[in-house]
């Protein structure tokens, strides 16, 4: 495991932290990691506590489960409770609370809700049970949307008429823009998302540098990747540069995955607007099926309430998703809201900032408090 050791090498980490400390000097920098996978790495490895005082990481909206608003969960449950429907979903989404419980509870009440690993599994169920209608709860950024696209085209090509998609795919650029427009937050740069960039590439992020004057470095998921991306951000600021740079060249290419982008264009079009948990309505921020694929669109086939539901008052997922507060600053964190009984979405997914902090981060924080390094 030589390769792995190189990326976990404590000496290399110490050298990077020393460099970050030198670059930061006496100034204060606030960087947002957009991607839930990065949030997970940061808490898993206690990265925020090895960074100098002047470098703060705030967590962004890049957890696809976390950004789905309650109203959409209610809509999903309404579809799932339609007689004759088999409703299929990734496991994470089953526990996301709507205003009257989650999909697991709908299942307990008698709805036929099934966990699937892949949209292809949902299509297979549709083929095997032609007398029932099968709906797939599609969520995720441009990372997962191509898989839904392939599945819908496959259903069309096979002539499967009892398969539909309840589409909640969202796009990565509009929430970044919304955060840059938000008066709550002053950021000095971004750690660009990893997997989603394998699809969209680095070019869509240019507006961050060109229109908002903030540097962005696409980063990998290893602790050293995160530290290296931070040094790249600081180097840009110190050199007076403002660019989109790619630290994760092992996987991400500037042009992304042209085949996947072509599939997205073939299957989806932008919705005029879509509600995001914590960020409100953002125009052109989500995908729906194109009109020629309307036969596969569950929203057209079923009566969905489509009602906007306000988050529970106690829940501060919105502020967490915007990076305005840290998970432990939420009033219900770890008491009323835990991974076992989540109130908010950020506590549901393992990539949610609250769940990641609950599972790992608080231990690092306790250690840091003991050492007098808490923040």
């Amino acid at each position: 495991m030589r390769f792995v050791d190189e990326y976990r090498d404590p000496a290399a980490a110490r050298a990077l932290v020393a460099r970050i400390t030198e670059q930061a000097g006496d100034d204060h920098f606030k960087f947002m990691e957009v991607c839930g996978g990065h949030t997970h790495t940061i808490y898993r490895h206690g990265i925020e506590h090895v960074l100098p005082e002047g470098v703060e990481l705030v967590h962004g909206p890049g957890c696809p489960v976390c950004v789905i608003p309650m109203g959409r969960v209610d809509d999903a449950i309404a579809v799932a409770e339609t007689p004759g429907v088999i409703f299929t979903s990734f496991g994470d989404m089953m526990r996301v609370p709507g205003s009257h419980g989650n999909l697991l509870e709908a299942k307990a009440r008698g709805a036929d809700v099934r966990f699937v690993y892949s949209p292809l599994d949902a299509l297979k169920i549709a083929q095997e049970t032609p007398e029932r209608d099968v709906v797939f709860f599609a969520v995720g950024f441009e990372t997962t949307a191509p898989y839904t696209a392939v599945t819908v085209l496959r259903a069309r090509d096979l002539g499967v008429t009892n398969f539909r998609v309840f589409c909640n795919h969202v796009t990565i650029v509009p929430p970044i823009k919304a955060i840059l427009e938000s008066p709550d937050l002053r950021l000095d740069g971004f750690l660009g998302p990893g997997h989603v960039s394998t699809v969209v590439g680095n070019r869509p992020y240019r507006f961050v540098t060109e229109q908002y004057g903030k540097p962005l470095v696409t980063a990998g998921f290893e602790p050293l990747d995160i530290l290296q991306a931070i040094t790249m951000l600081l180097a840009q600021i110190r050199d007076g540069r403002c660019q989109v740079e790619n630290q994760y060249t092992r996987v991400v290419r500037d042009e992304g995955n042209p085949r996947a982008l072509q599939l997205l264009a073939e299957v989806f079009e932008l919705r005029p607007h879509f509600e995001w948990r914590g960020l409100g309505f953002i125009s052109q921020s989500a995908l729906k099926l194109r009109p020629e694929l309307a036969a596969f669109d569950a929203e057209l086939a079923y009566d969905v309430p489509g009602v906007r539901v306000a988050d529970p008052k106690a829940c501060q997922c919105g502020e967490v998703l915007k990076g305005v507060i840290k998970p432990w600053e939420c009033k219900v964190f770890g008491t009323a809201c835990t991974p076992e009984t989540p109130i908010g979405t950020c506590m549901v997914s393992s990539e949610g900032a609250c769940a990641a902090y609950y599972n790992f981060g608080r231990l690092h924080r306790e250690a840091a408090v003991t050492l007098g390094r808490a923040r």
Partner: protein, 98 residues
């Protein structure tokens, strides 16, 4: 839900962009259609996400990804179990993706 599991391609199937991959010693069938332009060959490593090859990676990245995933413990084993249980990703031959 964005966990990518590394797997090594052991056989390219003629059928609809499918490939047989080895994931921690277990054979599964995945869809490699999104990597059409990458000229995937036997022996290549890919990152697998919900039954699809998400990206072509080198052996170094595969080892890193695997080591990171193993640190996750339950989250990782749940994801691998889900892949192994997925009907559309069944073992080579039968259970091929629809």
């Amino acid at each position: 839900m964005c966990l990518g599991i590394p797997g090594q391609v052991v056989e390219l199937l003629d059928h609809e962009h499918l490939a047989r991959v080895d994931v921690s010693g277990v054979g599964r069938t995945i869809n490699i259609g999104l990597l059409e332009d990458e000229d995937i060959q036997c022996g290549d490593w890919v990152l697998i996400h919900v039954g699809f090859a998400m990206s072509k990676i080198d052996e170094e990245e595969a080892r890193l990804a695997l080591a990171s995933l193993q640190m996750l413990g339950e989250v990782y084993t749940d994801e691998v179990d889900a892949l192994f249980a997925s009907p559309a990703s069944g073992p080579s031959g039968d259970g091929r993706a629809p």
